[in-house]
């Protein structure tokens, strides 16, 4: 019995070896590596999140594949969209590089008057400083009347918003600025 098993093993071993050699010797042997055998898309277990392309106004729907640990793996077109049916232009195909990019600035920066460089500052400090500047400027430049007519505005503050600015952001910006009395509220939409 024991004996038999070993003999089986031996023959088995030999046939295996034989097969191996047969597979590896020939006019053009085709031997996939372990990596190749287990190859698969990196988004295999990722969660697709529907988003919209931030470039032109065609409004291509995109899928952002996110891994369990929350890292972005890939961004591509959403095949269900009646607009782009999964297709994207070069800019859209590069959205990944827009979010994941070593050149991106992800800290609050401050340049003091007459300064020659940017320096990092705490978010809290910057926001407090900005809020104060807004109040100060508004209070200094607020006009209640002009040639006997109520105007309740300030020309001392202006804002210019981009066009990847979402609707919600436009709405809040408008609401806030109008309430401050700011009238020079502009957007890429005109530019």
């Amino acid at each position: 019995m024991k004996k038999a098993r070993t003999t089986i093993d031996v023959t088995n071993l030999l046939t295996r070896a034989g097969e191996e050699i047969a597979a590896r010797v020939g006019p053009s042997p085709n031997v996939p590596s372990a990596r190749t055998q287990s190859l698969g898309p990196r988004v295999r277990h990722a969660k697709p999140v529907t988003s919209v392309c931030p470039y032109c106004a065609v409004g291509c729907s995109t899928l952002a594949y996110v891994s369990d640990d929350g890292t972005l793996l890939d961004v591509e077109g959403n095949p269900d969209s009646p607009i782009n049916a999964g297709h994207l232009c070069p800019k859209g195909s590069a959205i990944f590089g827009l979010t994941v990019n070593q050149m991106r600035w992800t800290t609050v920066k401050y340049r003091a008057p007459y300064g020659t460089t940017w320096e990092d500052r705490p978010l809290e400090w910057a926001l407090e400083r900005i809020a104060h500047l807004v109040k100060e400027t508004r209070d200094k430049t607020f006009v209640q009347e002009k040639d006997g007519k109520r105007v309740n505005h300030t020309l001392g503050i202006a804002s210019l918003g981009g066009a990847t600015f979402s609707i919600e952001e436009n709405y809040l910006l408008g609401k806030l600025m109008h309430s401050l009395g700011v009238v020079s509220i502009e957007n890429q939409a005109r530019i």
């Binding site: 990596r35 190749t36 591509e76 077109g77 297709h87 070069p90 590069a94 990944f96």
Partner: protein
């Protein structure tokens, strides 16, 4: 089944989405930033890290009516030949024919001998330079860790051969290749090669009826590389797109080579025997 690309140049708008989608999915670095003045083409050629390349062929007269003007664009890619020169040349077996009948370079096997490069009659395969030594801006969007962990096509510092994988990894899960998926006008079509060929013949026919001089490149032709799994519909001479009109499979020259070498060796042996002779003992 064998899968492949049908690239219809008459639908190409030269947007280069294929180039970018490919680089994004395969995590390839940029090849640098040089203005060429070659129409809108600053990529110039396929490379180890550029697996789709859009060629811009200007046929414009100085005719203000512009009636005779053409500006044709074509997205070039690895042809995934039926008989692939690179595959036959590869001494390590890094280049294989996978279950989809595509020619695939296993980045973990390739040791960078470089023999596949001159063995491709289409000038597709190329060595991937020392990526790590590239200026940071070429790799600004790439994940160093994944490269180090050998999870990407350009592994670690590079030094291997690279070309289109026909998104082997995606096909494994039934995703279509990145370039074909991105292509806005469906100039790049992916699918079963036989279906694609049928579609291509039909398309060529319709275009001929519309008076266009359309021809298929890499289908049912007399070439030792056999039909191409990635074939093209062209409206101009292949040379204008930098495609060889009659590619030759390099290995077809081996018999001649070995024969000549053997003959020479025999002559040498003969001379040797004559000169040295046999030992008296």
């Amino acid at each position: 089944m064998s899968t492949g690309f049908f690239t219809d140049t008459t639908l190409c708008i030269g947007c280069k989405a294929c180039e970018v989608a490919c680089k994004q999915w395969n995590e390839l670095p940029s090849d640098g930033f040089a203005f060429t003045g070659m129409s809108y083409d600053n990529t110039v050629h396929l490379s180890g890290t550029t697996w789709r390349h859009v060629a811009f062929v200007e046929n414009v007269q100085m005719d203000p009516q512009g009636l005779s003007d053409h500006w044709s664009m074509m997205s070039d890619v690895c042809k995934h030949c039926t008989h692939a020169g690179c595959l036959e040349a590869c001494p390590t077996g890094a280049i294989i024919r996978n279950e989809f009948d595509n020619v695939y370079i296993q980045p973990d096997v390739c040791n960078g001998c470089g023999y596949c490069v001159p063995s491709c009659p289409f000038g597709v395969v190329d060595m991937i330079g020392q990526v790590a030594s590239n200026a940071a801006y070429n790799v600004a969007t790439l994940n160093q860790e994944r490269r180090e962990r050998d999870e990407t096509a350009v592994q670690g510092r590079g030094g291997v051969a690279g070309k289109c994988t026909l998104c082997y990894d995606r096909q494994r899960d039934g995703f279509i290749p990145a370039c074909a998926k991105a292509c806005p006008t469906e100039s790049i079509q992916f699918g079963d090669v036989d279906e694609l060929k049928a579609r291509a013949h039909e398309r060529a026919q319709t275009l001929k009826e519309r008076g266009l001089d359309a021809s298929l490149y890499g289908v049912g032709w007399d070439s030792s590389v056999g039909d191409l799994n990635a074939f093209f519909l062209l409206t101009d001479r292949p040379e204008r797109y930098n495609l060889p009109p009659e590619p030759v499979l390099p290995s077809t020259r081996q018999p001649a080579g070995y024969g000549a070498a053997a003959a020479a060796a025999l002559v040498m042996f003969a001379c040797g025997l004559a000169i040295f002779g046999r030992s008296p003992s």
